[in-house]
Symmetry: none
DNA sequence: TATGAATGAGCCTTCATTCAT
DNA sequence: AATGAATGAAGGCTCATTCAT
């Protein structure tokens, strides 16, 4: 994944160490959100964190390791927020509604972080030029949607989906959520509730029997 | 838009000059598509084009002017491809189908260019950190969808749309198309026809009365 | 003066920082003195200082900030050297003699620095092509001469001077000093004492009643 | 003088060739006068001359050869203007007055050319970093003054001068003339006649017995 | 003779990274 | 655990020069 092998000896981190890393990651997120990935140099990040550049290098093996934390942290927070809400629902139709609602709410409440992740995903590459997080992260994000669709189909409340048509449906829902993010970036005063209602309607209709 | 005023005196370009510029733009597209926007330095582009770095500076005032050509050319080609096909349709429903079909076909046939534009859109910023093309380009792309939706509503074949719900619908369709692009990048052997059919189905259902 | 606003927040510099900057400025002076302003690239300066190019950028915001130090330091040193000597004199005639003597001595003892400043003055331009230091620095240098002339006239030991004829006289004295500098550059083994005596004689005669 | 040996086979130049070279030199003078030596690239000069950059390279072996013409042409014109006027005088005192007067007039009437020469003299270096024209040109310019001084001394109208005190006197006069040039650059609306009168007075007094 | 095109060296600057303290 | 200092590679750009046409 990275040029340098990640150290297998996952050092046990002290509490302070963890806190310091978290603080730096936080600053990295803010920086990316404000000036964009390309301008988010270690210098910029350090300045915002009011620490010296060296500190970052001290706590992270390299820039890459720091940047990796951003989607990791994001995914953790996202997972924690989304899943309990979905699992609290009984019907697939409700699950889908809640998936859309909770995603949009989560994005609305974590704008900086979301934006930083988007910046990263579209910028970070492996040595051979492939997009970095695309594959793995996306599967993790698509799977729950596909599961809901499958469940709904089995229960007879959704229309028929083949494996691949379920994937297209899942990708479209996912894209709609990402599209909302971009629109929110462009129009920060967007009426989130209305947008949510519309998306729910759209995907309610398009999954109905 | 740029710090340096764009020269209004569009110099008359010789045929050769035009061809050379086009060739360099082509190489820039390839380079961005392969290594990403951030890594697409003039050096990289020149290497791919097997010319010296200076040649690029000779034909373009600066990197910005070169990069600007990419979405400009893209939008021209897109417009030329999409619109006649839509206008050949009689019903809004057909128009929407053809919008989706022709977009996916166009993307499939211009993968590199599309990808390069996506990279650019998500990377290029103005001096104050705002995304560059977001606003203007997006309106140009969303408007035709909104027009189709409005038309379909007036003709009574689509459900009711308020101005803002039509916009959400349009954004969702647009997002679905962009989502296809990303998926195509990740899975180059994707069954494009099937994907197209599914998207048509999804948005047929979600716009229906 | 410069495109980038000069930071008003004069950062408190550590002793080491000051010393390093001074050392780099010193090397810049040497470099300009040896190869001329046009050839005095950061690379050249760094090579002479046996440091990497980056170090200069680390200590100075940009080349301009480094170069600005040269006349600033020069003027400080010049002022410190010249003025006490003039003020120690009682008569305007002695003041004029000492002005010439101390200037020539100062130049003789700071050949490189003087030369570097001359190079800068005749090379540095503002964006609109005007010579940079010409105006401001020159007034600061001419004024003391004009004051001596005025004083001598009031005391009746110098001939009459109008405001503008005093200026021509001052300019001529200043030019003679600068001319000495150039001659010293061309003939490093010049007899400075004799040259001084002659200049004193010339301007003694030409100011006499 | 130059890195590349000047071709010994001084090709006989056609009239047209001479005219073209003269035109280019003229443009080079204008360019230097307006934007300064450092900014006077072949591109700039070519643009002003409304010819292609290649033309310059075609007519001059390299930039250096072009630039060399500027002081050469200047010296020719200067010589042609100054000497007949001096030789028309009978007494050394008159000669000195006319030397100053005609120099200032010449400078006033050839501002651009004079300024371009100053820029060049202070910028052009040989490979070893020495100022280029300093030596040779200066002797040619100082000698006539020294001759006047010697003559005046022999005729008993000037005070005693040793060889080296005559040189200092000559240098001072020369410096005064150069100082006038700089002042003229800074204050284009200078009263040239008054300045001339003052200089004549100054050097009349300082050479008098 | 003149041109447009191309080259390649050099410039200033930014930045991730290293290291002694 | 943190810092300031230094490095060196790479970036975009300018420019004198070369060359085929």
């Amino acid at each position: 994944m990275s040029k340098k092998n990640k150290p297998t000896n996952q050092k046990v981190m002290s509490f302070i160490e963890k806190a310091r890393r978290a603080q730096i990651v936080e600053c990295a997120i803010e920086t990316i959100a404000e000036v964009g990935y390309a301008q988010a140099s270690l210098g910029q990040i350090a300045k915002r964190a009011k620490i010296s550049k060296g500190v970052i290098s001290y706590h992270f093996a390299n820039k890459e390791e720091l940047m990796e934390q951003i989607p990791i942290e994001y995914y953790k927070a996202w997972h924690t927020y989304i899943f309990p809400r979905i699992e609290a629902q009984k019907s697939p139709k409700e699950m889908l509604r809640v998936y859309i609602e909770s995603n949009l709410t989560f994005i609305d409440q974590n704008r900086q972080h979301v934006f930083a992740v988007i910046e990263m995903v579209s910028n970070t590459r492996t040595a051979d030029g492939k997009l970095q997080f695309a594959a793995e992260l996306d599967e993790a994000i698509l799977l729950p949607i596909e599961n809901i669709l499958t469940l709904g189909m089995q229960e007879g409340v959704f229309r028929e989906f083949t494996k691949s048509s379920a994937r297209v449906m899942a990708l479209t829902i996912r894209s709609a959520v990402d599209g909302f993010t971009l629109e929110l970036t462009r129009k920060p005063h967007l009426d989130v509730q209305e947008y949510t209602r519309e998306l729910v309607t759209i995907f309610d209709k398009s999954t109905k029997k």
